[in-house]
Amino acid sequence: MTDDTTCLFLGLVAVLTVASLVAAILSWRSPKPLPSTLDNLNARIKAWWIMVAGISLAFLFGKGGVILLFAFVSFAALREYVTLTNTRRADRWTLLGMFLIVIPVQYYLIWIDWYGLYSIFIPVYCFLAMPAITALRGDTSRFLERVSEQQWGIMLSVYCLSHVPALVTLPIPGNEGRGLLLIAFLIATVQGSDVLQYIFGKLFGRHKVAPAISPSKTWEGLIGGIASASLMGAGLYWLTPFSPLEAGVLAALACIMGFFGGLVASAIKRDRGVKDWGHMIEGHGGMLDRADSLVFAAPVFFHIVRYAWT
């Protein structure tokens, strides 16, 4: 596993170095001041260096490090999401519970590998407790809307995202001790697909997929990005217990889910009249702007692998 991890790490550093060099050459040749696209590209690449450093650090600490990392990602994502919802003073206990109880408990359950509970803790217990608490507070104004907004918030930001570190707990025969690499595979393909969709979209984008939702999502970017990311996934099969073909198919599926995640996130942002979820990650926007594709990809990827390989 150590050799494979080193390979992956060096590969990422190589890709980022090439990206930085290309961006530096483009910036050098471009008229000053830099056009906003190039400015944004530089910021994005810089942020990628920091994110890769952060993820690598978490991986050094193993399962605990990755669980802590994603608990933090959930916290940041949920904070961005709740900021955009219409809360009332009576929702206070529900909101505090989401941050102070739901996030720690969900990730603790993954740490102790209690699949029977972490897979239903939020959709059963939290989803029933939240309207109950809200009802106890007695404020019925826009009750249904308030409860369901927050339910969906923890579904996206906590439940779905927690399935990324949960991959490490899957008992896949012959893959003992390599669970972290499966996480690396998922993150690399889904985030790679985002980047490749961005590149294909910028280079060849003509026909918009959903002009009412996002001006930057094009069919050319979507098809080019997902096809190339799936090929990349197939090429990364050595990280996984899959054959190259299986790795490619699973990567394609994760990337398609990731695309829908981005599309849904764009629809929410459009509805709330904001461009980005937040400003945590320079050039990218907020945590959810970066994690939206993982939100949709992680649980589906998790359950397919769990069904077919364990």
Partner: protein, 216 residues
């Protein structure tokens, strides 16, 4: 009282780290720059966290010379509050009660300005608990502006803090906050008190996000 004590600097730094961890607060400099002459930052007020948020958004040097104007009746009630207000935080305590007060609030604030301190000031006079975005301004801001016309009056719109830590709450709910700093105001020569206060209130309100509650 000139310059912050070591304890005050340390607690301001700790509070700034905490405020950023909970609210990810970002300053938006819309109409002025972080560095400037002596200032009165006047802001909307709905939460105890408000002045911490404004102070967090300031550069450390400016933070070190900035004090928050707060109600003496609240902060002198009890030893813990008095310790927090006088030793941990940089506050200028003013007595709001007309009948019983011993020190003229204006004189106390002017003394702080003359000692080289910038002030964080809440012109509504109290925390706003209504559904209105901003209460009517009391005359304190006008009196300060009339007495020290060279001091810049910077409007600061604090966004979301009332959702993070409303009145009576102890635990903050983590939500993203912003502080929008607008263009400084000055009292025009011969400007009427009410005209000035309305203008200042409108300048602060203009920094607020749209009415549907979404950020700009």
């Amino acid at each position: 009282m000139s310059g912050a004590s070591l304890l005050q600097r340390a607690s301001a730094a700790v509070l700034a780290v905490f405020a950023r961890a909970v609210t990810g607060v970002r300053p938006i400099w819309a109409g002025t720059s972080p560095n400037g002459p002596l200032r009165i930052y006047f802001a909307n007020h709905a939460s105890h966290g408000d002045f911490i948020l404004v102070s967090t958004c300031l550069h450390p040097a400016e933070r070190g010379r900035t004090a928050a104007v707060a109600g003496a009746d609240y902060w002198n009630a009890g030893r813990v509050r008095r310790f927090i207000a006088s030793r941990l935080l940089r506050t200028v305590l003013v007595e709001r009660n007309w009948v019983e007060r011993r020190a003229d609030p204006l004189a106390v604030m002017l003394a702080a300005l003359d000692a080289g301190e910038s002030l964080i000031f809440f012109p509504e006079g109290t925390r706003n608990m209504t559904e209105e975005p901003l209460l009517r301004f009391r005359s304190g801001l006008y009196n300060l502006a009339a007495a020290r016309p060279q001091v810049e009056l910077v409007p600061c719109w604090i966004e979301n803090m009332s959702r993070v830590l409303p009145k009576g709450a102890f635990l903050p709910v983590p939500l993203l906050c912003r502080v929008v700093f607008g263009a400084p105001l000055k009292l025009e020569a011969g400007e009427d008190r009410k005209v000035f206060l309305d203008r200042a209130r409108a300048a602060l309100l203009a920094l607020a996000p749209r009415k549907d509650g979404t950020p700009q």
